[in-house]
Amino acid sequence: MDPQSTALLARDIGAGLATIGVAGAGVGIGNLFGSFVSAVGRNPAARDNMFRDVLLGFALTEAVALYALVIALIILFA
């Protein structure tokens, strides 16, 4: 293989590896909502109050996954 296509191949592999970071966000979001469900099970009355914080936590956790996406895009297109 010539160096040019090797570099392209390595770039694509790198972008694929960058998406592994999403796994962490998956764990985080699962953890978040799992804790939320068990908390609501203990104290259903506090559901609405907690859900606001859960949404905020969801957005913050999801953003971490998107950092991985940004890195993948930078590898691919920049």
């Binding site: 949404l55 957005a59 999801e62 953003a63 950092y67 895009l73």
Partner: protein, 249 residues
């Protein structure tokens, strides 16, 4: 489906407003910004025209927005937060409308450009730092020294605090930009699957492409949630930073 999927082509800046716009570099992104600002102003002008004691639908919507952001300010910053309410409300409504406008086909999501979100985030960062120094003077630098920490840990902790402080504008801007970009790219990718299926398998592919179409419909709902949520997150993080600046921890 000719060649490759052009998932990022939708974020290309095009000249807006005809030849005049071309002359002053007025782009479709600027058009969307003007539109979102205009929608907010018109919404409030129309909604508050009657000032009824029992609000109509439009007035109820306006009051809902107002009270939502006001409660957010007071809950997060405290009573002093009302001083910053106009700023937080402006940022929140501008980003919210920008995200929502971007959801419509043929409209432009200006929050999907890092230049826009970084400008907003840098403004928030400089403003909160300014508020901190204005309120506390040089003592604001004590913000970087966490209270109740043994002295030998400080050489380690102070640099960490400083780095995390300066990471604020980066994380604030990348969060909004990446969320909006990712959502729009996902739409494009699933729409591209439909074209690929039809091109590859003919009539069966066209029937099977109902699956990516359905996914896209579900994604619209998700993106609606994300658009509102990210505006909320941006605003509440602004409030948190202001709280840090006013109260120091």
């Amino acid at each position: 489906m000719a060649g490759q999927m052009d998932a990022l082509g939708q974020f290309r800046l095009l000249p807006g407003l005809g030849p005049l716009g071309r002359a002053i570099d007025f782009t479709n992104s600027n058009e969307a910004m003007l539109a979102s600002a205009a929608i907010i102003v018109i919404l409030f002008a129309l909604g508050l025209r009657s000032r009824a004691l029992v609000p109509g639908r439009l007035q109820a919507l306006v009051e809902l927005l107002y009270e939502f952001v006001r409660a957010m300010c007071v809950d997060t910053i405290g009573e002093e937060g009302l001083r910053f309410f106009p700023l937080v409300f402006t940022i929140f409504s501008f980003i919210l409308l920008g995200n929502l406008i971007g959801l419509f086909p043929y409209f432009f999501a200006f929050t999907s450009h890092i230049a826009v979100t970084l400008t907003l985030a840098l403004f928030v960062f400089l403003f909160t730092t300014g508020v901190g120094f204005y309120t506390h003077g040089v003592r604001y630098l004590k913000f970087f020294v966490p209270p109740g920490v043994p002295g030998w840990l400080l050489p380690l902790l102070v640099p960490i605090e400083i780095i995390s402080y300066f990471a604020r504008p980066v994380s604030l801007s990348v969060r909004l930009f990446a969320n909006m970009t990712a959502g729009h790219v996902m739409w494009e990718v699933f729409a591209g699957f439909m074209l690929l299926l039809t091109a590859g398998f003919g009539i069966f592919g066209a029937i099977a492409s109902i699956i990516p179409l359905g996914l896209n419909v579900a994604l619209v709902a998700l993106e609606l949630l994300v658009a509102v949520l990210q505006a909320y997150v941006f605003a509440i993080l602004t409030c948190l930073y202001l709280h840090d600046a006013v109260h120091m921890h």
